[in-house]
Each structure stands twice: as C-alpha cells, then as structure tokens.
C-alpha cells in the first residue's frame, strides 16, 4: 500500500516549525490542507455548521496566539483533530448545545458520539443512495468507539498511531477496535435482507 501519510506528516511538521517562527503563511497552508477534513470530522458530532466553522477558525487562531508556548506535536493532524473536538465541546457547553452526559463522556473517555446521516447526501443514482443509506445505518449500529475508529481510519486515513493519539488509547486497542468493528458489521449484515448480501462479500475480504 502506498504510504503518502509519512510525507504528509513531514510536510505538516515543517509547516508547524515555520508557524512557530511566526510565519502566517504556514498557518494558512495548514488551514488549506486540513480545513475540509476538520469540517467533516466536526460534523460527526455537531450539526451546526456555522458554529463548527467558527470553532475551527478560533482553534487556528489559538494555535497562533499560543505558538510560543506549544510544544511541537509529533503529529500535527492528530493534534488538530484532538484540539477541535475539545474546542467544540468547550464552546458547545457554554451555549448548551450538548446534554450533560455527552460532555462527561467526551471528557472522561475522549470519545464523541459520532453519528452518520448519509441521508443528507444527494446521490443521483437511486441504488447507490439506498446502499449508502443502509451502510450508514449499519455503521451507526456499531458501538461508538468502533464507529469513530472506522471513520478515522477509512475516511480520514489516519494511521493506527494517529488514531491512538486522538482517542488517547493504545495503538493495540485501535487494532482491536477495528477488528471488532468488522466482525460486528459482518454479523449484522447477515441479519439484514438480501439486498445487502453484497456487503458480505465486501467484508469477507478483510
């Protein structure tokens, strides 16, 4: 499997160094690179897009303001993901966007209640739209830890180590969660109607 991620990591680390030295351009570059991923990630636990975008902007500004005091993260991308989640919950709490148990959860376990709603997706092809919706339902049936790990790995393409950092768990736990997720998906798929039999072949390959 091609490994672009190492290159990306080095590029981010370089930009971070320039940022610390006071380069606004480096901050802009990091925003350009990571903004969309952060929006997609944030949308998984907060639906208010304007609020989310404000959080992302504030987060980058805070990074800038505190650049002298921050130590270089060994992984910028993972650092940004972690910061965003903390930011969204902190600001959201002030505006009472979250239930109390959500908050406690996010703080103690470092896990957020990720939920997929692919019905937002307007897909022209009817069959693909249906399949996507069902896949979303299946993903949502997973325990939330497994759900988040699958999302970070297969959508955001974070490495095992990066995921471990974002969720503050060990890399081995990440591997276990991924395995459990696929086992769960396979079991659930068996109980779902024939239209989804395709998914069985999908996960047998794993």
């Amino acid at each position: 499997m091609p490994h672009l991620s190492e290159n990306n990591r080095l590029r981010d680390a370089q930009l971070w160094k320039e940022l610390v030295l006071g380069s606004e351009q480096a901050l802009g570059a990091l925003m350009h690179i990571h903004y969309r991923s952060l929006v997609n990630y944030g949308q998984k636990f907060i639906k208010d897009e304007e609020f989310l975008k404000d959080c992302i902007q504030e987060m980058f500004i805070e990074v800038w303001n505190r650049r002298g005091a921050l130590s270089s993260p060994n992984n910028v991308r993972a650092y940004l993901f972690t910061s965003l989640r903390r930011k969204v919950y902190r600001e959201g709490h002030k505006l009472q966007l979250f239930e109390h148990h959500d908050m406690a959860d996010a703080e103690t376990t470092g896990s957020t209640d990720i939920e997929f709603s692919p019905e937002w997706w307007l897909i022209e092809e009817e069959s693909l739209a249906e399949r996507t919706r069902k896949m979303g339902d299946l993903l949502n049936l997973l325990p939330k830890r497994q759900r988040e790990v699958i999302y970070l790995k297969y959508y955001q393409e974070l490495s095992r180590e990066e995921i471990a950092q974002v969720l503050t768990i060990s890399p081995q736990t990440v591997s276990n969660l991924i395995q459990q997720a696929f086992m769960n998906l396979r079991d659930r798929i068996k109980t779902v109607a024939i239209s989804l039999c395709a998914l069985i072949t999908l996960f047998l390959g794993y």
Partner: protein, 364 residues
Amino acid sequence: MIMTDYRNYTTEDLLTDALFRAWVLNADPEATAFWHYWLVDNPDRSERVEAARALLLAMQEKRQTVSDEELGKIVEATLGRLGNADVTEKPSSRRIYFILSRIAAAIVLVAGLGWLVHKFPGGSSSNVISKQSTSDEIRTERKNNTDKPMTVLLGDKSTVILQPGSQLSFSPAMEKASKRIVYLDGEGFFDVVKDPAHPFFVYTNQLVTRVLGTSFRVVAYNREKQASVSVVTGKVTVFAKKDLEKTDRVANPPASGDVVLSPNEQATFTQNAAKLTKSKIEGLVTLYHSPEFSFDETPVTEVFTALEKAYGIDIKYEPEKIDGYLLTATFADMSLHDELQLICRIIKGNYHIEEGKVIIETGP
C-alpha cells in the same frame, strides 16, 4: 507504468486506494473514467466496488460544502484576525464575541439619488420605474407609514429597519432565488444573513449595492443633492444601475467602474461628475446599534416578548413546548437573527420567517 491489479483488491484495499478515493470522494474526471471502464471489464467485481463506494459515501455524508473560493476567504479572514489576541483574553466577552465573529458588519449610506436620475447619461427614472412595475413577478411591498423605525423580516432571515416614509419591496420567495434582490425607496438598515451562494442586492433608482452577508445602511432620499455609500466594516460593491444593464454584472466579479468599499470608506457622487469617488469617513458605527438585552434566568417566553416589543415584530411559538427553558445572556450588538439562532439552540428548535412573522419550530 505498472497497472495496479484491482481484481485482487479487498474492500479495505479499495477504501485506502488513492485512485478509488479520487473517484468516490472528489469525482475526479480521470478517476471516474478509469473506474467506469474498469467496471465494464470486471462486472464480477462490481458488488465489491459498489459496497466500498457506499461505505466511503456514508462516512462523507455530503458533498464538499467548502469551495476553493470559500476556503480561500476563510483562510484570509483567519489570518486577518491574527494579532487580536486581546479579544481571546477576556472570557466574559468571549461568548458574544464568538457569535459576533460571524457577522461581517458594514454600514452603507446611499444618499440623495434622486437628482442623479437626470444627470446620468443614458439613465432615466421613468425607464427604471416602468421596468419595475411591468415585471411579472409578484412583489411584497412594505411601507413605513408610522413615525418610528419599523423592522421588516425577509424570508432569508435578513432584517431591514425601515425608516418612516420609506418603502421596501421584494419577491415573497426571494430566499429561493439564486440572487436575493430587494428594492428600496427611502432609508433602511440592512442586516443580511451570510450566504455566499446567494448574493444580496439592494436596488435603488440609480445604484446597485451588492453584498454577500453583512449589515449596512442604505439611504436614498430624493430631495438630497448628494449621494454617498459608506462602510463601517465588511465589504460591499457599489455600481451604477446602467452598468448592470450593459453586462451581467450580477454574475460577474467587480469591474473597473465599480467601487469596492472597505471599512471607513465612502463613495460619493458629486453633481459635476457622473461617477463614484472614494474617500475616508469615521464615526458611522454609532449611527445604528441594535437594542440591548440582559436576561438572568428568564423564561424563554418572556425573552420572546422582549424581542417582540423591542423590534416591533411577531413571534409565533407553542408555549407548552418551550416551557421551563431559562435564558441567561446579554445580547449586545447582535442581530435579531443571531439572537433567535442562539435561543433556538437552547430550546433545540429552529425558526423561519413566514409572511413577515417569526415562526419558532420545536420538536415533538
């Protein structure tokens, strides 16, 4: 070049394959073409491919919502705010500031356009007026016949404070159109909800003011001998209506004849020159300020009553649905839209504008 043998690819391999992702997530034309032909050649693998595609799409949820242009603007805006560290130091003002960061405020003064009607070569007022009145579309007209400012709510949640004797007209379904257009005769303070995909236009007799989302003031009194447009914060584009007719200015970026105004800038028409000239102006911020509220564990129903009174508007809601919600907040320099949005977050509801009334929607 070595061709990847995708026939042996598992779902996991596909999910992390760059060419596969370029097709599914970015609709890259080359990748799309590749996979289209590959599927024709390998029909026995289509289920696997389609399933992997659905899995990625389910996680993406919706198509990219941030365009390159928008992202560029966001980055620019963020870099523009660097160095304002003092703002983040004050926790008490922070929440309000946080919300305010969304409001790109601008105040625009367009004064005394009437006389220009005869001064502009090629432009004639009767022409313009007949053009408006022969239009097939149905327009909602609001005239302020009182002696106090009146708040008009538009379908896109923008608000206009209309001064006595002023009149505003707009299409009842303006929020569904690709451009949001209102026509003003008189003086109004606009607080426009940001929506870059649907630019907002204020038409007066001779001038068109274009904004994406901001608050600004337009004054167009016929008796005045001078016309001016002034901005406090944010950016607006002003151009003569005759230019609008020449080319499709609505779709195009600012052109040479346009005046793009930044904070504390003013564009002026003088009697001798039929063009806009730019100058500096100070002190406009204080011209308009929104009402201030301070709530301390106040029931939301009472908050609504306070807003109704202050803005002179109607708010419809189901009292039993919001029973028990208390609000503690200070609203200062906030638009009605932001105030309503904040309250809706707390009561986990939503709102929309219907026939000039605020309708609060709450869940079951």
